[in-house]
């Protein structure tokens, strides 16, 4: 397990070559999937623990699920993009590559776990703790995403067509991951709520929520769906 973890974390070139050439894909897929499930599950558990044990378990299940759904939805788009831009990676190689990249990102998340736990602990009870915690979790995810991207970059041939492929990958991944995470929310849970549901109803897309949240951050509150700094629903326009 440790040697596999080392391979995933410190040998991205070897990992990428294995995937693209289709060498030992089945054990690689098994090992990377295990890493994804365990590492993101633990990260989710710590993230949700700010709202109690029930939310911790909910996030421990939902966070790995969000990764898996994102990869499943992104894979056909990635396959099409690579084929159209002249770097036809086979579907099974692509799936192994995506799993490997996600496993590397998950390992980085696991490594950053003490930062998250520390943040959860010191921000608990703070008026703006909910927003700060979600911001810190997003930053940690961003850092992990960059580590995952390192594997994908190494799998692509060094030529001009790799640039639109990478841009397409990044854009599609951000859109799909954002929407999947938004659909599976809450991961942390609003502090104003006494009980946190496992899922919220599908009410909008994450892009709409992003715009709404950006307005709220600038002090512009809309009639419904906005939350003040302490997580209380505003219930009116300010």
């Amino acid at each position: 397990m440790l040697t596999t973890s080392l391979l995933i974390s410190s040998k991205p070139q070897e990992l990428a070559t294995r995937c693209v050439h289709g060498i030992e894909l089945r054990p690689l897929a098994r090992a990377t999937l295990t890493h994804v499930l365990i590492c993101t599950g633990v990260f989710g558990f710590v993230l949700g623990s700010s709202r109690g044990v029930s939310q911790a378990f909910a996030s421990a299940v939902k966070l790995p699920l969000a990764w898996i759904i994102t990869l499943s939805v992104c894979a056909p788009a990635f396959y099409a993009i690579t084929a159209v831009f002249g770097q036809g990676i086979r579907l099974r190689s692509l799936l192994a590559l995506l799993l490997s990249a996600t496993a590397r990102a998950s390992l980085v998340l696991f490594a950053l776990l003490p930062v998250l736990w520390f943040s959860v602990d010191i921000l608990q009870g703070s008026a703006t703790g909910y927003h700060q915690l979600t911001m810190i979790a997003s930053l940690l995810y961003g850092a992990a995403g960059l580590a995952g991207l390192g594997v994908v970059v190494r799998a692509l041939q060094k030529r001009a067509s790799s640039l639109p492929i990478l841009a397409g990958f990044a854009l599609t991944f951000c859109l799909v991951a954002g929407q999947t995470a938004w659909s599976l929310r809450p991961f942390v849970g609003r502090p104003a709520e006494t009980t946190t549901p496992w899922f919220r109803p599908a009410e909008s897309t994450f892009l709409e929520a992003l715009m709404l949240g950006s307005d709220s951050a600038r002090g512009i509150y809309h009639s419904s769906g906005d939350y003040e700094a302490d997580g209380r629903e505003t219930g009116g326009e300010y």
Binding site: T17, I23, A80, I81, V84, G88, T172, S204
Partner: protein, 218 residues
């Protein structure tokens, strides 16, 4: 079937060996079926038929997320039973766009002593259709995710439209490049004609899309 052949990589063992020395990044990697079909090397009628079918499938499926979200919204104003025809309009629009504009390019180029090989043009068009359809097919799950998780019918419709034009533009640029490669004497005039044709086809595609969608949706 004249396809390229690829070396089979050393195959799977039951456990992952991190110290495997069978890795050689300099060896050519095996290529996907889609990439093989997009390559001009496989040039026969059955492959072209497969390309066209995959293209039609991809374009037809692109209309499905918008249709589904309108159906599930149960919005009487937005949803009409015949909206499912939307799926058929995209392949028809794409086919009409090229069918109307390509013969003109052929004639114009022949006026300037550039005769394109018909078989090669058919192959290039089939690959164009596949390229567009493949991109549409690839992005359909993403649109379905948005449709199933809170996306509005307008939002999904706009996203589908954007995907259609994104895929269409990439396919058209590739077709123009392929046709340019077929020219024997690439004079500024013939290249100018090709560029003008590509721009006109883009405008024609936009016009036909609006006309066809107008016919179906409003």
């Amino acid at each position: 079937m004249s396809t390229t052949t690829f070396d089979t990589p050393p195959m799977a063992s039951s456990t992952l060996d991190p110290t495997s020395d069978s890795l050689d990044p300099t060896l050519p990697a095996p290529t996907s079926k889609a990439a093989e079909l997009l390559s001009p090397l496989s040039n026969n009628a059955s492959d072209d038929m497969m390309r066209l079918l995959a293209g039609v499938l991809g374009l037809a499926l692109l209309g499905v997320p918008a249709t589904l979200v309108q159906f599930f919204e149960r919005n009487e104003k937005a949803f009409r039973p015949w909206v499912s025809l939307q799926s058929v309009t995209l392949p028809i629009t794409a086919a009409t766009t090229l069918t109307l504009s390509l013969p003109g390019l052929w004639i114009l180029l022949s006026v300037f002593n550039e005769q394109l090989e018909p078989r090669a043009v058919v192959n290039a068009v089939a690959r164009t259709y596949l390229r567009g359809g493949l991109l549409c097919l690839g992005f359909t799950p993403t649109l379905l995710l948005f449709a199933a998780s809170g996306g509005s019918s307008d939002g999904v419709l706009v996203s589908s439209t954007f995907t259609y034009f994104f895929a269409g533009t990439i396919a058209l640029v590739s077709l123009a490049r392929d046709l340019g490669a077929m020219l024997r004497q690439r004079t500024p005039l013939t290249l100018g004609i090709l560029l003008g044709w590509a721009l006109f086809t883009m405008v024609l595609g936009l016009y036909l899309f609006v006309r066809m969608q107008h016919f179906i949706l409003f």
